[in-house]
């Protein structure tokens, strides 16, 4: 019914140290899907997500994004593709010394001429887009506040607004809530899901908590040791599916629930 926006054909990635990040991945992601990637730390979740905007470059195969094999692109063409892909990071990656609005406006850089952006002369229309997206994530009244004065959940919303301001087709979110407490995690995920629905965005999210994945995903992709071990709609996913993906019985730690802290070791994944 819909065409594949992202297509992995036999994609593998070997890191310079010999570690195999991805092994012969075949995958199609359709326009408008909300996909959650699950797997243990080191399973290749981050590598898979970062391959899509080539923040890491797969070493073989074919990776088609919006009709183009991005593995063949030169730097300038790659930047063009990246303007259509918004990215959200675990550590927000906003400039804390800059105002919220400026951070959000940074999402327009790919669409703005170099000279124009260097002097900071953004078209009024871009400012409208930025402010509108701040409104959508509910922090427009913080527009002129320094980003460092915001809470973690608010900072992650700034980064969501920044990604939206790119007016992308795809949003990649690499462990977007791993640094947040459970209630805030749910609020941020709800915002992310809502805005991506409203704009019809294709969204790919890494999560490592089972309950979070079950609650927000349309479709689950499971990775283990760089292999794709599960791919199916959320209706087909059971506890047993997760046991297969994790290759061990599921534990309380795999649920966000009301547990406060995430395991530090889960964040040592290679990128």
């Amino acid at each position: 019914m819909v065409n594949a926006l992202i297509e992995f054909n036999d994609v593998s990635l070997v890191y310079p140290n010999g570690h195999k990040g991805l092994k012969n991945i075949n995958l199609k992601i359709n326009e408008g899907e909300f996909v959650v990637i699950v797997g243990m730390s080191g399973a290749g979740k981050s590598t898979l997500i970062r391959s899509i905007n080539r923040m890491v470059t797969p070493t073989s195969g074919e990776l088609i994004v919006d009709g183009e094999d991005i593995l063949q692109l030169k730097d300038s063409q790659l930047r063009k593709v990246r303007t259509n892909i918004g990215m959200i990071f675990q550590s927000y990656n906003i400039v804390k010394r800059m105002s919220v609005l400026r951070n959000v406006l940074a999402g327009r850089l790919g669409h703005t001429g170099t000279l124009r952006s260097l002097v900071g002369w953004f078209p009024q229309n871009d400012l409208q887009i930025a402010m509108n997206n701040l409104e959508r994530v509910g922090i427009d009244e913080k527009a002129y506040v320094r980003a460092s004065n915001l809470s973690g959940g608010q900072q992650q919303r700034v980064s969501i607004a920044r990604a939206l301001t790119q007016q992308p087709k795809v949003i990649l979110a690499d462990e977007p809530v791993a640094s947040l407490d459970p209630p805030t995690s749910h609020k941020v995920m709800k915002d992310l899901k809502r805005v991506s629905r409203e704009d019809g965005l294709t969204t790919i999210v890494n999560l490592h908590f089972i309950d979070m994945a079950m609650e927000y995903a349309d479709r689950i992709i499971g990775l283990r040791d760089g292999n794709l071990v599960f791919d199916g709609p959320i209706e087909e996913v059971t506890d047993q599916t997760f046991e297969e993906i994790y290759d061990r019985p599921i534990k309380d730690d795999d649920f966000l629930g009301s547990e406060e802290e995430t395991d530090e070791k889960n964040e040592s994944e290679q990128v």
Binding site: N53, M55, R79, K80, V81, R82, T83, I85, G86, M87, F89, S91, Y92, N93, I94, V95, K96, R97, M98, R102, A106, G107, L109, G110, T114, S117, L118, S159, R162, A163, Q166
Partner: protein, 269 residues
């Protein structure tokens, strides 16, 4: 947990004997070098002791009292010195900014180019400002311009070194985010790096200004303009009371500049 019982028959030493001997021999070697150096330069303690009365008499009889009427002649060269320092710092700070990015490994990812820039910086900082001043006096002639040029180069060396290290230690997250959104290197610098290093940049510039005010006094000795010229002139004419007036003024002015600069830098950090 298994506990090992202390063995009474064997004494436990905190520092092994070999290490103690090693430290001792290094200490003796250093002392020996000092003695050799003292003999070589004839820097014997009694010469310093004998010199004290001479210093005292020089201060009391020759320097004191500073000739207060000479102050009016100090003001103009002093302003000149300040201007040399100010322009040298300004030009140096402006030029150091782009060069600093080339000397930062997280921005300039071309390793060969990066090493060349770093090497060039290291060479630059081995040249004392007095040599720079002599070079520029030879190049553009006696006067303020050569002083300004010498301080510009000196400032590029200082700020470039400090700022490139600040750039290398910025939070890489925002850089990654701008790259991921399709921004080019210049946009990454402008929107992810510069906002993070701006306070340091301002602080290093003020620090350079402090150094440059002091350096520009010395530069006058080789003809690069400013208060150094009259200082040298008065020294060679043995007008020690005028010299005292110059030194006293410099002391006051430099203290004030350092104080203001330090206060500003505290607020930046």
């Amino acid at each position: 947990m298994k506990k090992t019982s202390p063995n009474k028959s064997e004494r436990i030493v905190l520092t092994p004997m070999r290490f103690k001997l090693f430290i001792l021999s290094i200490l003796l070697l250093v002392i020996l070098l000092y003695i050799v150096a003292a003999y070589q330069t004839e820097a014997f303690p009694q010469r310093v002791i004998e010199g004290f009365p001479i210093i005292f008499l020089f201060v009391v009889e020759d320097l004191w009292p500073p000739s207060w009427e000479y102050f009016t002649s100090v003001i103009q060269p002093l302003l000149e010195t300040w201007n040399i320092a100010l322009f040298g710092t300004t030009f140096g700070a402006i030029l150091a900014l782009p060069v600093s990015f080339l000397a930062a490994s997280n921005i300039n990812t071309n390793l060969t180019f990066y090493r060349i820039i770093r090497f060039f910086f290291n060479i630059l900082r081995t040249v004392p400002e007095i040599i720079l001043a002599v070079l520029f006096v030879a190049l553009v002639g006696i006067g303020d311009i050569s002083g300004i040029l010498a301080l510009t180069i000196l400032t590029i060396g200082i700020i470039g070194k400090l700022l490139s290290e600040s750039i290398e230690s910025v939070d890489p997250g925002p850089l990654e985010a701008i790259r991921a959104s399709g921004g080019n290197t210049l946009q990454v610098i402008r929107y992810a790096v510069i906002p993070q290093i701006l306070p340091q940049y301002a602080s290093y510039t003020l620090y350079s200004l402090e150094i440059n005010v002091k350096a520009s006094v010395v530069l006058g000795f080789v003809g690069a303009g400013g208060i150094g010229i009259i200082l040298r002139q008065q020294l060679s004419m043995f007008n020690y009371q005028n010299v005292a007036a110059i030194i006293f003024t410099l002391f006051i002015v430099i203290t004030i500049i350092d104080f203001i600069s330090n206060k500003l830098r505290e607020r930046l950090e």
